[in-house]
């Protein structure tokens, strides 16, 4: 076996599979969104599906809703994760317990968390009952709607619940690489606690934080089961809308579903691009 062929040989099974399934799936989705449906005898490509959805208010509302959910979830989770990481990197009694809980959260599937949020925050859920107990409300309908509501509060809560430990652990690993020394230096140079955080620590962890945020954004944008369980039916999140269009009895809706899927893929491609740029900059410093 020639030395030259070693690397391609090691890589090819995995690359072939990924190229076949992943790239293949994307490609098929692309041509399907362009109207290619051989089963129905349609073999011409056209932009009808894209035209339809881009001119429909329903699509825009779904897109904006999904974007809003992803943006809020990512921002809130990132901010809380910074706070959590700042606390967790110090030594204190019970730190290992909290670390364990963080890691436990990482292993709990999103769906379970979503159901839990449902039982906590629905209008007949746990917090509603607490509010009733404390005479804050007189019935379930008085409790603010956080599930199936236009602000998608329940969905955002669920994403924040799951992504704070995720982003937090990445930040923590980052911070542990740098240690406390940079901040110690800045303190003796006259920076107070806030200046030390803003001018020294934050720039140091920003690349890692941003990379994690991009992953979270892409994920929340394309996730199906959480908005399916906790979200309004109209406007629905984009993945839900795509699924509904795909399983519609009218097969003409199928290219539109694929077009939506392509838009989701496009957005995540933008995220990947940004992530790759950040990873490279991080490696260099």
């Amino acid at each position: 076996m020639l030395e030259r062929w070693k690397i391609p040989l090691l890589l090819s099974p995995a690359l072939l599979l990924i190229a076949g399934l992943f790239l293949g799936g994307l490609f098929l989705g692309l041509i399907g969104s362009l109207g290619y449906m051989p089963l129905l005898g349609r073999e011409e490509l056209n932009l009808d599906a894209y035209r339809n959805i881009l001119f429909s208010t329903g699509f825009y509302q779904s897109f904006l809703l999904t974007f809003y959910i992803s943006l809020m979830s990512t921002i809130i989770a990132s901010a809380l994760a910074i706070g959590a990481a700042l606390i967790l990197r110090r030594h204190f009694i019970g730190r290992s317990v909290i670390n364990f809980l963080f890691q436990l959260n990482l292993t709990v599937p999103h769906l379970v968390g979503a159901v839990g949020i449902l039982y906590l925050f629905s209008q007949s859920g746990f917090f509603a009952r607490l509010a009733f107990e404390f005479r804050l409300i007189s019935g379930p309908s008085d409790f603010p709607a956080m599930i199936y509501d236009p602000l998608a509060i329940g969905i955002i809560l669920q994403y924040v619940w799951k992504e704070v430990p995720f982003i937090g652990m990445i930040l923590l690993a980052n911070m542990q690489t740098f240690g406390h020394d940079y901040e110690a230096v800045s303190r003796t140079l006259g920076a107070n606690r806030w200046q030390s955080f803003r001018f020294v620590l934050l720039p140091l962890v920003s690349p890692g934080l941003l990379a994690a945020a991009l992953i979270v954004f892409a994920f929340t944008f394309g996730a199906y089961e959480i908005p399916a369980l906790l979200g309004q039916s109209y406007p629905a999140a984009l993945p839900v809308l795509a699924y509904q269009s795909f399983t519609d009895v009218d097969l003409n809706a199928r290219p539109e579903a694929l077009a939506m899927a392509m838009i989701i893929a496009l957005l995540s491609a933008v995220m990947i691009f940004g992530y790759a740029r950040l990873a490279r900059r991080y490696m260099r410093s």
Binding site: Y182, A184, T188, L189, Q195, F199
Partner: protein, 346 residues
């Protein structure tokens, strides 16, 4: 020119049998360049961090110009620290790094730029202001770290093994730079090192720390010639220790009776003399002389080390290779210990 006092400074971590820093008291003169010397993990870095305010002491006091600073956070003590790892902020340019402290004080940009320019000249890095730290060599990075600290004209400059990461030649260069900066600026400087040559070459006074305790605080000459106890003596390379008994002005031991110099106290049970001070094979001088067997001879390049033996006592002498050349192994040689080279330990 701020002086620094440590009073009974102690740092004990829970669960440790011995405190990391144990009851250290010393007074550092304003404007001096002092070394905290000791082997690794002896507590010297901990002392430095307590002075900087990065670690709270378990007990004791730290005073700058007779005022206690314990209540002040590190950014208000005006005690700037330079670490072994230069810790230049990687995403800022060299100029931004140096100007960092002034920026934290909200100084106007023009003043900062001017001050940064002056510092760059002082550390001989005039054209490097716009470079990023990772584009500089190790020595240059450490110079930037020094500039970043000294631009603030701090009351005291603390250096934690600042040159340990550099190779030998670079280290000498940096030591000279530090010396000239010290002379130029007159800042009180305290640096930590495990290298006794560095401490001796650089500082006015040396504080020897062993196992968290201050063992002796004096000039290098004193530490070499008049160490307080055997541990201190051994740390500075003393090799020969002979037990015996003191009398008024003399010391009796297995090597004979030795007349002590007047400055040496006549109490103590251990005679010590440094290998480089022994005279071997010279003319017969009556006082403080005896005969010994030359057991071994080893050429080390610029010196020859002789292993000598009399009775049960083994001791070492360091001679210039030329003088040691004619001496034969196994022969009997005359040994003379000049009065001034003798020292008694408790």
């Amino acid at each position: 020119m701020t002086d620094v006092s440590l009073e009974k400074l102690t740092k004990a971590y829970p669960g440790q049998t011995r405190p990391a820093v144990n009851d250290v008291s010393m007074h550092i003169d304003g404007g001096s360049l002092t070394a905290l010397l000791g082997p690794s993990a002896c507590g010297k870095s901990t002392i430095l961090k307590m002075i900087a305010g990065l670690l709270p002491p378990t007990s004791g006091d730290i005073r700058f110009a007779r005022q206690s600073v314990l209540q002040l956070p590190p950014n208000r003590r005006d005690a700037v620290m330079v670490f072994q790892n230069h810790l230049l902020f990687p995403y800022m340019t060299v100029g931004e790094n140096i100007g960092f402290g002034l920026k934290m004080r909200h100084e106007p940009k023009k003043d900062i730029d001017r001050a940064v320019g002056r510092m760059l000249e002082l550390v001989q890095l005039e054209d490097m202001g716009t470079r990023k730290p990772n584009q500089l060599s190790g020595g240059q990075q450490q110079r930037v770290a020094l500039a970043r600290a000294l631009i603030l004209r701090p009351k005291i400059l603390l250096l934690d093994e600042p040159f340990s990461n550099l190779d030998a030649n670079l280290r000498l260069e940096m030591q000279q730079l530090l010396n000239s900066l010290h002379q130029e600026l007159g800042t009180t400087m305290l640096f930590v090192t495990h290298d006794k040559e560095e401490a001796v070459g650089l500082s006015n006074k040396i504080a020897l720390i062993l196992n968290g305790t201050l063992r002796q605080y004096a000039s290098a000459t004193v530490l070499y010639g008049q160490p307080k106890d055997e541990d201190v003596a051994r740390f500075f390379g003393a090799r020969n220790f002979v037990p015996g008994k003191c009398g008024p002005g003399y010391f009796d031991c297995a090597l004979g009776r030795f007349t002590l110099p007047e400055s040496v106290s006549s109490t103590g049970r251990l005679l010590t003399f440094r290998p480089e001070n022994i005279v071997v094979g010279g003319d017969n001088i009556l006082e403080n002389s005896f005969h010994a067997t030359l057991a071994s001879k080893q050429f080390l390049g610029s010196q020859t080390v002789l292993g000598l033996q009399k009775g049960d006592i083994f001791f070492e002498a360091l001679l210039s290779p030329q003088i040691a050349e004619p001496l034969q192994e196994g022969s009997t040689v005359s040994v003379h210990l000049p009065q001034r080279s003798l020292w008694i330990l408790g």
